[in-house]
């Protein structure tokens, strides 16, 4: 077979393919295990040796979304037949559903705070990046460095001052407080990433729009924004992943109204023994939004990461 620069040999293809699949499997196993556990019954989840094949059950999900109380067999027998599958599962464990758990609310908090702060970071970051990219700003380089410098220590290093500040300002355990905090952490990343993307967009496009009778702001959102969509999408993913997964600040600053899912899920452990399927169910559901968001934007993400390497 002749040597070619552009075409790999079939052996090379086979090798590369195997390597990629192997790596994918290794990284997927923990996720897969969590998802499998979420469909096990509590006894199956702690059996030794671990069960790979089992009868799937929704008990973990039912336990995740409900609080239950134990009742005597007599009471149980006197109850009318179960109305739905959830009640049937719970009664199988000699319990009745007492009410909904807090998970739904915590999950909603995560959605509000995660997407809220991502939106705000992208909104402000795009405007700032555009200004840095296009206008003559006094000390622009110093300002950019200053913005980046906020990320030169782990954010948790300032946890105590923020905790005190938030208590004083009444922002502790509020959605607004968490959104502002995550935005503050994400915005430096957003400004830097987006400035790079906007720098790559030739100014002539906006100038053409200005000539065509549009105002500066119209030129920005009608011409620059569509061009920057790729960069905005990939930056949004990074921001969302951070805000969605953030644990330390959430533990410190939220306890009730604004508590997000990450600090809540481990607390399930404390409710009547180690309910592994419920924890796994929480983790699985928690993974979904970011996964869906990333898959939806994956085209942009791939282009975004290699952006600027090859000019169209």
């Amino acid at each position: 077979m002749s040597y070619s620069i552009t075409e790999p040999t079939s052996r090379q293809k086979w090798f590369a393919g195997t390597l990629v699949i192997l790596y994918a499997v290794i990284t997927m196993i923990p996720l897969l295990w969590i998802m499998m556990t979420s469909f096990k019954t509590p006894p199956d989840s702690i059996s030794y040796p671990p069960k790979v094949f089992y009868t799937p059950s929704l008990e973990g999900y039912v336990n995740l979304f409900t609080t239950r109380t134990r009742v005597s067999p007599e009471t149980l027998a006197s109850l009318p037949p179960p109305e739905n599958f959830a009640e049937e599962i719970v009664r199988g464990r000699d319990m009745v559903i007492a009410g909904p758990s807090k998970f739904g609310g915590r999950f909603l908090n995560s959605v509000i705070i995660g997407f809220g702060s991502t939106f705000l970071s992208i909104f402000l970051g795009t405007l700032a990046a555009y200004a840095f990219s296009r206008f003559k700003i006094p000390l622009a380089d110093d300002l950019l460095f200053f913005i980046l410098s906020t990320r030169m220590m782990p954010p948790i290093a300032v946890a105590i001052p923020i905790f005190l500040m938030y208590r004083k300002l009444g922002l502790s355990d509020t959605h607004l407080g968490m959104i502002l905090l995550y935005t503050a952490v994400n915005i430096s990343l957003a400004v830097w990433l987006l400035k790079g993307f906007i720098d790559e967009i030739p100014r002539e496009y906006e100038e053409a729009a200005l000539i065509d009778g549009y105002t500066r702001f119209q030129a920005f959102y009608k011409v620059v924004l569509p061009q920057a969509a790729t960069g905005i999408a990939s930056t949004a993913i990074f921001c969302l992943i951070f805000a969605w997964n953030e644990y330390a600040f959430a533990v410190l600053l939220t306890s009730g109204t604004a508590q997000t899912a990450p600090p809540f899920i481990p607390t399930i452990i404390g409710v009547g023994g180690l309910d592994w399927p419920a924890i796994a169910a929480g983790a699985t559901l928690f993974l979904l939004p970011v996964m869906i968001f990333t898959v939806m934007l994956r085209k942009h993400l791939l282009r975004g990461i290699t952006f600027g390497a090859v000019r169209k």
Partner: protein, 365 residues
Amino acid sequence: MAEIIIKNLRKDFGDFTAVKESSFTIADGEFFMLLGPSGCGKTTTLRMIAGLELPTSGEIFLDGEEISQRPPSQRDIAFVFQMFALYPHMNVRRNISYPLVSQGMKRKDVRAKVAEVAKILGIEDMLDKSVGGLSGGDRQRVALGRAIVRDPKAFMMDEPLGALDAEFRERMSEELRALHDRMGATTVYVTHDQLEAMQMGDKIVVMNNAVVEQFGTPQDIYDKPASLFVADFIGSPSMNFLNFNGQIDEGATEVTLGGARVPVPLQHEHQDGQLVFGVRPEHVVLADDGALRAQVLTTEYLGTTQIVVLQSEFGELKARVDSSLPVAAGDQLGISFNTPTITLFDQSTGRAIRSELNEEALRNG
């Protein structure tokens, strides 16, 4: 359609002066060339007329109105960019209709107008294509379409052919000129290609180092250069310069070049010191009775003419002569010059010395 008057226009970028007090007038319907080497300020001047840069000082009148501080959207000027700057996320039709949409024109009228423009440019069949797949020439046509669709008062073109292949450039330059003649719109065209400027322009402004060197018709610029820079920049091969130390008086009709007396056009001012005798290659005459002697170094055959490179006591000289003239390297020849075409320059300032030949051309430049 409109007349554009530029008065004392200046642009500073911090400490750097891109354009120094420049003044010239672009007549209604003129195809006007801004010519100069890169970095001379020609594009900045164009961008100031269009409103993409605001001048530091000076005035711009369009159709009698002072517009120098207005945003581009309020100037009614179209701009064609070197890299076309077609909106990549829109198809050809939307690109061309974009200026009309901003004016709030009705959808039906927009469609009709776009169709009309597409017909003029011969791009009807590509209206629904994305701009990404178009060839350079077609992109340029779409960019032109976007410019002409709203019947602006004037067109600004920033090296619109610079991104095209040589072969295509020729065709597009003809198309451009034909389009201009048909529409009669005032057009300001920036180029660094002197040939393009001579071919297409009604008038040319030559700029160098942020200064307007000369302003006039292509013939004036070529035959009556106002400075050494213009004489050197325009024409290929460029003008021959013979440096000599001497004196000329008002009313003089000859200069002394290395002992020989060489006739020149009637001079209108006194000058002495280091002077330059400028003559275009086609005005160098090979004649045995010539006042100067020279040796042939090489010849370049160009078809109907040939360029003869000569070594004289004043350095190298190029002569453009009929290719049938038998000349060979090593020949010793006499040379003389076509007197009415000679321009003398002051070497220290680089300015042409006023004479019968250029008096009028220098007055409006």
